[in-house]
């Protein structure tokens, strides 16, 4: 340890007399417009900024509570392994342990069977707070099972994505999840069961280039970053400034790659309405 690191460690923040101790997380600052809000206030507004409409990333439980009336988790006991014994500045095993401790979850996806008003659905939600929602064997398996269970139960499938893409630490195994999922989704779609994909901030890489873009209906939250390559990679490649609003939901909508951009407060109703149109329709008699 160098001297300044030791020095930094010893230094304790001094507290001015009479100042209040603000409990952590009482306030939340919007990363877009820098405005600060009471957490309670934000929570009541579904974690959407009251001044600029920025949609904060939300955890899986919150997301589920916004979408479903009740649910039961499926395949909760799938855990990641470290098939390549991957080690960069830290070992993959260590990283996994850290994120598992931090999030209390085994990996970056939660699969549930639940109820949206009167429609039964299977729903997969990616968790961006777990290694950037990256897709390794566990996420791949859960999305695949989601599609398979939907098909077996003959109920609609809903995927909510938030991911940096494939998980590098599982190498080509992560890449193969895209193929595995695509086979299951293709079968689901062929059986004419509705598959609705919700893209939230941010969704990039192998997740976008597989199931997130394979939905019968593609819906995004406002202002979400959605793309194949991340903006930094593109900038490094072309060595130009990126246009304003590039790769945001509204940009994709304008270019024809989304069906709708929907506010968080209207998401559940919108999905439900679409499902009532698509699900269990008799063939036209003409």
């Amino acid at each position: 340890m160098s001297w300044f690191e030791r020095f930094r460690k010893q230094r304790k923040p001094t507290k001015k007399e009479g100042s209040l101790t603000i409990p952590e997380g009482l306030w939340k600052k919007c990363p877009e417009c820098r405005e600060t809000f009471y957490r309670k206030e934000l929570e009541e507004n579904l974690y959407v900024c009251l001044s600029c409409n920025y949609h904060f990333p939300i955890n899986v439980e919150t997301r589920l509570s916004y979408l479903l009336d009740n649910y039961k988790e499926l395949s909760a006991g799938i855990y990641p392994i470290d098939p390549l014994r991957f080690k960069d500045t830290k070992s993959y095993k260590e990283r996994l342990r850290e994120y598992q401790r931090k999030t209390g979850k085994p990996d970056a996806a939660v699969l549930v069977h639940g109820q949206m008003f009167d429609i039964e659905v299977i729903c997969i939600i990616l968790d961006y707070s777990f290694m950037g929602g990256s897709m390794g064997a566990v996420v791949g398996e859960k999305v695949t099972r989601g599609a398979e269970i939907s098909l077996a139960m003959r109920v609609p499938f809903i995927a909510v994505s938030a991911s940096g893409g494939a998980r590098m630490q599982e190498g080509v195994i992560s890449l193969m999840q895209m193929a595995k999922i695509s086979c299951a989704i293709a079968k689901l779609k062929k059986a004419a069961l509705p598959y609705i994909s919700i893209l939230t901030h941010p969704t990039t890489g192998g997740v976008t280039a597989s199931f997130a873009m394979q939905g019968d209906i593609l819906i995004a939250e406002p202002g979400a970053l959605i793309g194949f390559a991340g903006p930094r990679v593109i900038q490094q490649t072309i060595k130009q400034e990126l246009p304003e609003g590039f790769q945001k939901s509204e940009f994709l909508l304008e270019h024809g790659f989304l069906d709708i951009v929907v506010e968080r407060s209207k998401l559940k109703d919108t999905i439900y309405t679409i499902l009532t149109h698509l699900f269990k329709q008799d063939p036209p008699k003409c």
Binding site: G77, D88, G171, I173, A186, K190, M213, G227, Q247, G256
Partner: protein
Amino acid sequence: MMEEYFNKLDLLKEKIDRYKALGSSTGVDKELEKVRKEVIELYQKYRNKLSRWDRVILARYPNRPYTLDFVKAIFSDWVELHGDRFFADDPAIVAGIAKFKNRSVAIIGHQKGSNTKERVYRNFGQPRPEGYRKAVRIMQLAEKFNLPLITFIDTPGAYPGIGAEERGQAEAIARSLEVMALLRTPIVVVVTGEGGSGGALALSLGDKIFMLENAIYSVISPEGCAAILWRTQDKKEEAAENLHLTSYDLKKLGIIDDIIPEPPGGAHMYPEEVFLSVEKYIDKSLRELCEKRIETLIQQRGDRFRSIKFYKE
């Protein structure tokens, strides 16, 4: 140390090319035989020292055979087909129809260039969405006219650019995967060089997947991986080691069916030998796959990827 190996190989390759330019005669053949012995000797001295990074170098070797070289050598009556019918033709992916041993087939592959001008024209083998949409069009053509599909994989990855994103790079790849998943014709995949991430996978969802011995297949380039995880590209060799991206790695992980051996020194040293081996593997695969009922084939195609399980429960 390995630089020395590659330099020596380059010199020998130059010799081979110069002799070959003289045309075949008993004298020339004798000299070529001598050079081959040198190549073998050199190769045997270094073969066990080849690191994963060295395989990356070989997979990207500038005079390695590319898709159109395979097409020219293995197939006949080749007709190249262009365009995605929406926007443009993408020269980074070639597609068409041809004859393979009296059977008509469809072919799709990434295409790099063999000189600077062509490399730029082919965008260094990095497809834009148009390329994948052309590919999907040819896949569906193959399905409709009962042509088995053969794909050749060799790309650093799908192109990360403004236009590519505007036109839905991710959607184009996702669609290609979805179409291949249920395509009602046999699909044989040969990874010939770089299997670069989603841009490679997009054409690789097949019934048989082979890799040339010195080909690589990875979720991200070693440079990209090093830049993200080590925050410096200097760690690309370490990244390559960790990524397990060689044909031997993929065989061991059970992801590919087989490794197609390369001649001593690599495919670029004796391309005609590689063409012969690839031809044999395609022939054997097509014989096997064309015997199956189409429903069985599609079921097994899905099962093959379904069985890739690296988790505990």
